[in-house]
C-alpha cells in the first residue's frame, strides 16, 4: 500500500519535473516514453494498469488531452513493446536506445490519432526529430537510474 501511495504522490509529478528541468536549460526529456519503457520492460505485470493510470494522470497535467486519451497514448506503445520483454529485460543499452527512439516516434503519432478521433487535439502531437534524438540518447541512462530509486523501484519485476 505504501508503495502505491508514493507512486501516486511522486510519479505524476515526474512529468512536471521534466518540464521544470527543461526550463532550467536541460534538453527535452519525454517522460511519456520513459514511463512506457519502464512499464513495458521492467514493471510488474499485475501492477501495469494502475501504474499506467498514474502515468496518464501525470501526462494529463502537462498536456491538453484528457486522462483516457493519455491512457491510450501511453498504453498503446507499452502494449506493443511488452511482448519484447523476454529479450530486452535487463539493462541492454542498444535495444533500449532503439526502443526509446521508436517510442518517441510512436507517442506523438498516437496522440495525433487520438486527438483526431476523439476531438481532443494536443500540442504534443508533433513528431520532432530533436526530441527523438534526445529520447534515444538520454532516456536509457535515466531509466537505469530511476528504476533503482523509489517509487519505480518498488514496482520492478523480479526476474
Amino acid at each position: 500500500m505504501k508503495r502505491w501511495f508514493w507512486f501516486f504522490l511522486v510519479g505524476p509529478q515526474l512529468f512536471l519535473a521534466a518540464q521544470w528541468l527543461q526550463d532550467l536549460g536541460a534538453p527535452p526529456l519525454d517522460m511519456a516514453v520513459l514511463m512506457s519503457l519502464f512499464l513495458a520492460f521492467f514493471a510488474e505485470r499485475g501492477a501495469l494498469p494502475w501504474l499506467l493510470l498514474g502515468a496518464a494522470l501525470g501526462r494529463a497535467l502537462v498536456d491538453d488531452a484528457g486522462v483516457p486519451v493519455q491512457i491510450l497514448v501511453l498504453g498503446l506503445p507499452t502494449a506493443c513493446l511488452l511482448p519484447l520483454r523476454a529479450w530486452f529485460f535487463g539493462q541492454r543499452w542498444f535495444w533500449q536506445v532503439l526502443a526509446a527512439a521508436v517510442g518517441a516516434l510512436m507517442v506523438p503519432y498516437v496522440a495525433m490519432l487520438c486527438g483526431r478521433w476523439f476531438d481532443q487535439p494536443s500540442a504534443s502531437a508533433v513528431i520532432d526529430s530533436w526530441r527523438v534524438f534526445w529520447a534515444a540518447l538520454l532516456l536509457p541512462p535515466l531509466l537505469a537510474v530511476l528504476r533503482r530509486l523509489p517509487p519505480l523501484h518498488a514496482f520492478e519485476e523480479v526476474s
Partner: protein, 452 residues
C-alpha cells in the same frame, strides 16, 4: 497454464478498454477525472503558492483601450447583424440580438451543423416571428417548445434554432438573376449530408434553362409567394449558387447534374443571430437569468509551459470550458478539477478549433466571424488557419484587426479580447500577437450562470 496467464497482460488491455469506454461515455467518468487530476494537482498547487506575488490588473491606459475595442465590437456587430436586414423585414418588427451558445453536433445538409442554441430562453423570445437572420441573410427558423423538434424543451430552456439545412426546415421560394437577363425561380430546401453545400435547389420554374447553368456564384434571394401569409421576408438572401456536375470534353459544354446553394455563414462559427419581434408584443416576464458570473481565482504557470499551460486555484468549483480572463484579456479555457482547482490551456497553447471574431482596424468595416485553429506558435505569435464567411464573396482576404473570442460554449462567450491580428502568408491565415504575462496572475473565471 499459469505461465501463459502471466504472459498475457489482461490488466493492461483491460485498462485500454476502460479508456475507450471512458471516451465513449465522458459524462459518466467525468467525476473520476476531476477527482484524480484534482488530487494530483494539489502538489503543484502547494509548490506554486510559494512563488511570487500575483499581478492584479493591466495599466489603466491598456484597460481603457481594451474597453474601447470591446465596445466598438459590440456596436459594429449589432450594426452589421441588424442594420442590413431591417429594410427587408415588415414595418413594426424590432430586432432581438441573440448570442449563440453552441452549434449542435448533429449534421445537416453539406455535413454542417444544423441547429443552434441561443443565450435567450424560449420564454424570453415568446411572441417573436419564426425567422432568424444575420445581416440580410435568412439563416433558419426559431423552434417553439413542445413542437416535435423541441418536444422535451421547457420555456426556460435556451431557445433552439433550426437552420435551413436541417431536414425539417421548410423549403423557401427563391430566385436568382440570369446572366442573360431575367430571373430564374426555384424552391430551395435542405441538401443531404453528403452533398457539397448545405442547401439544394429542388424545383425550378424553368428546368430547361436551369440545366444550362454553367457558372455558380449568383446570389439567391427569397421571393414572396402569392396567397401565403406566413413566409420569410422577401429580399433576404440565402447564399450563392454552386453548379455541380462534370467538366465537359474540349469543345463541349460541361454537364450540370445539380445546383446547390452555398450559405455565406458557416454554422459552426456563428456567434450572433437576430430574431424579430413585432413592436408592441410584450413577452411574458421570464425569470431573470444571469448570463455568467465571475469567480476570482489565481493562476500559476506550469513548469516548461510558460504562457501556454497554467494551474488555477479558485474559491469555488470551476467547470470545464470556462474562459479565464485577466484584465479584459482572455487567457484560455479551463479543465475543471476537484478542490477548486483547474488546468488552463491558453489560446496560444491549444490546438482545438475556436470560434473567433475579427474586428477590422479600418473604422466601420464589419466584424468577421471565423472558425480557426492554432497551427504554429513562436514567442507570443500564433499562426491561425481560419475558415471565414463568404458574405463578401468566396476567398475574400482577411483584414488586419483585433481578435476576440466568438461563441465557444456557455463558459466562453463572444467578445473577450485575444490579441492583434494581421493577415498571414496564405489567404485564410492570420498571425495573432498575444500579450503574454509571466508569473502568478489574479484572474476571473467566467462561469455560466443560472437563475437568480
Amino acid at each position: 497454464m499459469r505461465r501463459s496467464r502471466q504472459a498475457f497482460p489482461v490488466g493492461l488491455y483491460g485498462m485500454l478498454l476502460f479508456a475507450l469506454c471512458w471516451l465513449t461515455l465522458p459524462t459518466v467518468f467525468a467525476p473520476l477525472e476531476r477527482w484524480g487530476l484534482g488530487l494530483v494537482s494539489l502538489v503543484p498547487e502547494l509548490a506554486a503558492s510559494w512563488r511570487g506575488t500575483p499581478v492584479h490588473a493591466a495599466e489603466p491606459a491598456v484597460a481603457a483601450r481594451l474597453q474601447e475595442l470591446t465596445f466598438d465590437l459590440e456596436v459594429r456587430t449589432a450594426k452589421h447583424d441588424i442594420g442590413s436586414a431591417a429594410r427587408f423585414v415588415p414595418a413594426g418588427w424590432e430586432p432581438v440580438h441573440c448570442a449563440v451558445l453552441s452549434a449542435d453536433s448533429r449534421r445537416g445538409g453539406g455535413d454542417q451543423p444544423c441547429e443552434l442554441l441561443l443565450d435567450h430562453s424560449y420564454a424570453e423570445l415568446a411572441g417573436c416571428s419564426a425567422y432568424v437572420t444575420k445581416a440580410d441573410v435568412l439563416l433558419g427558423y426559431l423552434v417553439q417548445p413542445g413542437e416535435a423538434l423541441a418536444g422535451e424543451d421547457e420555456p426556460d430552456d435556451p431557445a433552439r434554432v433550426i437552420l435551413l439545412n436541417h431536414r425539417a426546415a421548410a423549403p423557401v421560394m427563391a430566385e436568382t438573376a440570369r446572366t442573360s437577363g431575367g430571373a430564374l425561380q426555384m424552391i430551395v430546401g435542405p441538401a443531404a449530408v453528403a452533398d457539397p453545400a448545405p442547401l439544394r435547389v429542388d424545383l425550378w420554374d424553368n428546368p430547361f434553362t436551369a440545366s444550362r447553368l454553367r457558372h455558380g456564384g449568383q446570389l439567391v434571394h427569397v421571393v414572396p409567394l402569392d396567397r401565403v401569409d406566413d413566409q420569410p421576408p422577401p429580399g433576404l438572401w440565402l447564399g450563392r449558387t454552386l453548379v455541380w456536375g462534370y467538366d465537359g470534353e474540349v469543345g463541349q459544354d460541361p454537364l450540370a447534374i445539380g445546383v446547390y446553394v452555398s450559405t455565406p455563414f458557416e454554422p459552426r462559427s456563428l456567434s450572433h443571430v437576430v430574431v424579430w419581434r413585432q413592436r408592441g408584443v410584450s413577452a411574458p416576464q421570464p425569470p431573470l437569468r444571469e448570463r455568467s458570473r465571475r469567480i476570482p481565482a489565481r493562476l500559476w504557470d506550469l513548469p516548461g509551459a510558460a504562457g501556454r499551460r497554467f494551474l488555477l486555484s479558485a474559491s469555488a468549483a470551476v467547470p470545464s470550458g470556462a474562459a479565464v480572463v485577466h484584465a479584459g484579456l482572455c487567457i484560455g479555457t479551463t479543465r475543471g478539477l476537484s478542490f477548486g482547482n483547474a488546468l488552463v490551456t491558453s489560446f496560444l497553447g491549444s490546438r482545438r478549433r475556436w470560434n473567433l471574431i475579427l474586428l477590422p482596424s479600418a473604422a466601420g468595416e464589419r466584424p468577421r466571424e471565423l472558425s480557426a485553429e492554432v497551427v504554429e506558435t513562436d514567442a507570443g505569435v500564433a499562426v491561425l488557419r481560419c475558415r471565414s464567411d463568404s458574405y463578401d464573396g468566396f476567398h475574400a482576404p482577411l483584414p488586419r484587426g483585433y481578435l476576440f473570442t466568438g461563441s465557444n460554449g456557455r463558459g466562453c462567450p463572444a467578445g473577450l479580447f485575444l490579441g492583434a491580428a494581421e493577415p498571414g502568408y496564405e489567404l485564410e491565415e492570420l498571425q495573432v500577437t498575444i500579450p503574454i504575462e509571466a508569473g502568478p496572475l489574479d484572474v476571473e473565471v467566467l462561469v455560466p450562470g443560472g437563475e437568480r
